[in-house]
């Protein structure tokens, strides 16, 4: 999706935000393409909400510029920018009915009443709330309120939709349902969307591109698969999904030493002797049909098994790795086939091409 010849809709350049001495955002630059669904993902305090609020003009950046659709909006107040916003609290006006909530923005544009009504009805049927149009927010469920907030934000067809942790206040089931629904609506409205979330599953399932942030800087920008399969930094590898980290030293091109064992992996031309951390996901530790011709074979003992439904997460001990333990995900069928249980001893292989390597700092 992101290629050089596509013109970005939102251009964020060198944004720094300081709260007194604390730097919440440090020289952040980012391009967002028209109609794209981007997620800002990171732990709390990473600066993702600060960046969103800077884009909205709610808390203006200390330095740097932002342009939207070719227009410099760096210093505009929020009321002169073009965006719709949904907050975690929804901020629905409690004293207005659903219809009136959605109509507010349209009325402000000076649109005539019948036209407003028509557009409100259209939006409410889109979010499937026509039956509730005369109710007050307090009479709706969390998920319904969420959809009203979405309809209200989209009423005036803004160029940019900002979602600030919109699903965090909902329970798990409604959440996964709404994930799909928001994504569908975003496609229907064809609106450039930025969603802030700390929930990686949300980001992975909904986003066209994910922006992983930490400590006020961008760690990695990429499609969900890229973020998951080829995390660029140790932070991203650790924050998204589960990862085993092993301290290692580069032995030669494409071999590393971990404790008493030597493993094969792409060492990315790093100099021999440098300290690195190698990383492998639990599902890339293979127990099926391990033969002597495989590389990176480890003799392990199963120390603990946690049943998680369709797969089990096992804690593995290995003499060659001394005290280091590994987490591995074994599918239920493998567990049954090899009768893996606590105390089982077996061979596993760490698939070389799935091993990531990070320079230890």
């Amino acid at each position: 999706m992101h290629s050089e010849n596509v013109k970005p809709y939102l251009k964020i350049r060198n944004i720094t935000k300081k709260f007194g001495k604390f730097t919440a955002l440090n020289d952040v630059s980012l391009d967002i393409i028209e109609n794209e669904f981007v997620c800002f993902l990171g732990p709390s305090g990473c600066g993702k909400t600060t960046l969103l609020r800077a884009i909205a003009g709610l808390d203006i950046q200390t330095y740097g510029s932002i342009s939207q659709g070719g227009k410099d909006i760096s210093s505009l107040p929020p009321s002169e920018r073009d965006f719709g916003i949904v907050f975690q609290s929804y901020a629905l006006f409690p004293n207005l009915t659903v219809t009136r909530n959605v109509a507010v923005g349209l009325e402000n544009l000076g649109i005539l009443a019948p036209k407003v009504q028509q557009r409100v009805d259209e939006l409410l049927s889109l979010v499937d709330l026509m039956d509730h149009k005369d109710k007050y927010p307090a009479q709706l469920s969390g998920g319904q309120q969420q959809r009203v907030a979405l309809a209200r934000a989209m009423a005036t067809s803004p160029g940019l939709l900002l979602l600030d942790e919109p699903l965090s206040a909902l329970d798990a089931k409604v959440r996964s349902h709404l994930r799909h629904e928001i994504k569908e609506l975003q496609r229907k409205f064809a609106v450039t969307t930025i969603m802030v979330t700390h929930d990686q599953e949300e980001a992975l399932t909904m986003a066209d591109r994910i922006v992983v942030m930490d400590n006020g800087t961008i760690e990695q920008v990429g499609k969900p698969e890229e973020i998951y399969c080829t995390p660029k930094t140790k932070f991203v590898a650790d924050f998204v999904g589960t990862m085993n980290f092993l301290p290692a030293i580069i032995l030669s091109n494409n071999t590393v030493q971990v404790s008493d064992t030597v493993l094969t992996c792409d060492t990315e031309n790093l100099p021999v002797g440098s300290s690195v951390t190698i990383a492998i996901r639990p599902e890339d530790i293979n127990a099926r049909n391990v033969t002597n011709s495989d590389s990176n074979i480890l003799q392990i003992e199963v120390l603990h098994i946690e049943f998680l439904g369709s797969f089990c997460r096992a804690k593995l001990g290995c003499n060659d790795l001394k005290g280091i333990t590994l987490r591995a995900d074994f599918s239920i069928s493998i567990v049954r086939l090899l009768s893996i249980k606590v105390g089982s001893r077996l061979n596993v292989s760490l698939i070389p091409k799935f091993i990531r390597i990070y320079v230890t700092d």
Binding site: T16, L96, P137
Partner: protein, 562 residues
């Protein structure tokens, strides 16, 4: 990287500018209504009669005049004794209401509010009937005179009781039941739990109540004026210096002396209230008192006694207002309500008071709420908003007598373009709104803070002009708080004397002042009748308010109850 990059400054939207302009207008009003008069007051205290600057020599005079200095001591004496007494009574009463299963709580709650509905002089008048020279219960004083410290303390304790009670009830209501359960599980005795959990939990509330009560008694004018006899206190001294001796400079000195402890008390109170709030955690579980027969009965007896005393106070005033000629002819009459027979204002003063109260409630609640909204919800311009908030805090620390005197100096100056206000209803409204500004401002601010902070963000993204979201969203949501503010202003405008005593003119006499004047002329029965008229009005307004708000809220706040 950013050394040379310019800091981004947000452009102000049209709304931002309009809001700032409105805030500056209200801020200027506050500056004119409180800061400039106070400045004039303090500079007056450094001048001689000719208006020349003479440094602190007025103060030196003051502190070397034993009779004047004695008043300061007297003020402190009655305030300390009064405060300790009120705190003790109010704490036990509040404890009974919040922490026991005592029956008839609703009755005791209503009775405790009664003193709020009357001017402070009413207790003085009532005490004269009970314990004065021809008093029915004079014998209980064992030869002591009611006209003096005893009377002042009794009268003060009566009228400040509900003020202390409300603060302590709040302090006792915010607690965590889990603390008591934990104490019980750890087998802590009831008495130890009381000193280990209950007292520390409401410590700041008690401190706050103590300082509020101290300030109220210390600066009150009504009670010592009626029942103080020859026992002088600071508030009556100002009055004597100004009205009696026309010694404005010395009056200003006394006003500044009166101001000092009030400001200290104010600072400590602010501090204590902030700490009190910090004690509540969001996961706290409200305390549910359990049945305890001996405790409940003891409390019932205590509260009945207090309620009986309160009812005796207002009951005697009511009785006196209806009696022909105490104590010689005790047949009932309405003659005492024929106010026009006495000098001092007549019925006109009553209607002036109604007018003042309506204006104060109406204009005051609009201006104060709008000001609080601009401070709370404005964007940027932090300096202006913080300054405004700070200035809005000042009136709480300024005793009414000092404010009234400051107004004389400020508005009665012919060089002041606003001097046309002097002697009009306008200046009474302004002084009353100012006098009671802080509590109303804080009520408004609290209500505004409780609203979702993102309403303004959403409104901006929807391009809603601020006056529209103010009118359609903020005002409806905060309606209960706005009504609270207006009733608070109405009741205070009806009963206050301290600031307005220096500011009324022949055309703008007020009911509460008429009470004082009638008392001065020895028309005690008529004073009681006028005080009761005020009490009826305030009581009636309160009842109307209770019914009215229920109706209004049911209609306009449908969304709240669903």
């Amino acid at each position: 990287m950013t050394k040379n990059t310019p800091i981004v400054r947000q452009k102000s939207s049209r709304d931002d500018l309009i809001m700032r302009a409105c805030m500056i207008v209200i801020g200027l009003f506050l500056a004119i209504a409180i800061i400039l008069p106070l400045y004039t007051l303090s500079s007056k205290s450094l001048e001689n009669k000719a208006g020349d600057f003479i440094g602190l020599s007025n103060y030196i005079d003051y502190f070397s005049t034993p009779s004047l200095f004695q008043s300061a001591y007297n003020s402190i004496f009655i305030s300390v004794i009064g405060t300790v007494t009120v705190l003790l009574f109010a704490f036990i009463y509040a404890y009974a209401l919040t922490r026991t299963q005592m029956p008839f709580k609703w009755f005791f709650k209503i009775v405790a509010i009664i003193p709020l509905l009357t001017p402070s002089m009413l207790s003085g008048i009532s005490l004269v009937y009970w314990f004065g020279n021809q008093g029915v219960a004079k014998i209980f004083l064992m030869g002591e005179s009611i006209f003096g410290p005893i009377g002042i303390i009794m009268g003060s304790v009566y009228w400040v009781f509900p003020h202390a009670l409300m603060i302590i009830i709040t302090a006792l209501s915010i607690t965590d039941a889990r603390l008591y359960e934990t104490a019980a599980v750890l087998r802590t005795s009831k008495i130890k739990t009381f000193f280990m959990v209950t007292i520390p939990n409401c410590k700041f509330g008690l401190i706050s109540a103590g300082f509020v009560v101290f300030t109220l008694i210390f600066t009150d004018f009504g009670v010592p004026k009626v029942i103080g006899g020859s026992y002088n206190v600071l508030a009556t001294d100002i009055y004597k210096q100004i009205i009696g001796q026309q010694n404005f400079q010395m009056g200003a000195v006394v006003a500044v002396v009166l101001l000092t402890p009030a400001i200290v008390a104010f600072a400590v109170d602010r501090f204590a209230q902030r700490r009190q709030v910090a004690l509540i955690s969001t996961s706290a579980v409200p305390y549910e008192p359990k049945k305890n027969n001996s405790l409940d009965l003891t409390m019932l007896i205590f509260c009945s006694l207090i309620a009986f005393l309160i009812l005796c106070m207002i009951g005697m005033a009511q009785y006196a207002a209806l009696v022909e000629f105490w104590p010689y002819n005790l047949s009932f009459t309405l003659e005492n309500f024929n106010f026009d027979l006495a000098e001092g204002g007549g019925w006109g003063s009553y209607f002036n008071s109604i007018q003042l109260s309506v204006y104060t409630a109406l204009i005051g609640s609009i201006v104060i709420f709008f000001g609080a909204y601009l401070v709370e919800k404005g964007r940027g311009f932090n300096f202006g908003r913080n300054t405004f908030h700070g200035v809005a805090m000042i009136p709480l620390a300024v005793p009414g007598m000092a404010l009234g005197l400051a107004y004389i100096f400020f508005f009665n100056n012919p060089d002041n373009p606003l001097s046309f206000l002097y002697g009009t209803m306008g200046i009474l409204v302004i002084s009353t709104i100012t006098h009671f500004y802080t509590v109303s401002h804080l009520t408004a601010t609290t209500a505004l803070k409780q609203m979702d902070q993102e309403f303004e963000s959403v409104s901006a993204s929807l391009k809603t002009p601020f006056f529209r979201s103010f009118q359609k969203i903020t005002v409806p949501i905060c309606m209960p708080a706005i009504l609270d503010i207006s009733i608070y202003l109405f009741l205070n405008a009806m009963t206050t004397v301290s600031a307005v005593i220096f500011l009324y003119s022949a055309n703008t006499r007020l009911a509460a002042i008429a009470v004082l004047n009638m008392d001065d002329q020895g028309e005690l029965a008529m004073a009681a009748a006028m005080a009761m008229m005020i009490a009826y009005t305030c009581g009636g307004i309160r009842i109307l308010y209770a019914i009215g708000t229920n109706n209004i809220l049911a209609k306009t706040q449908k969304w709240r109850f669903q």
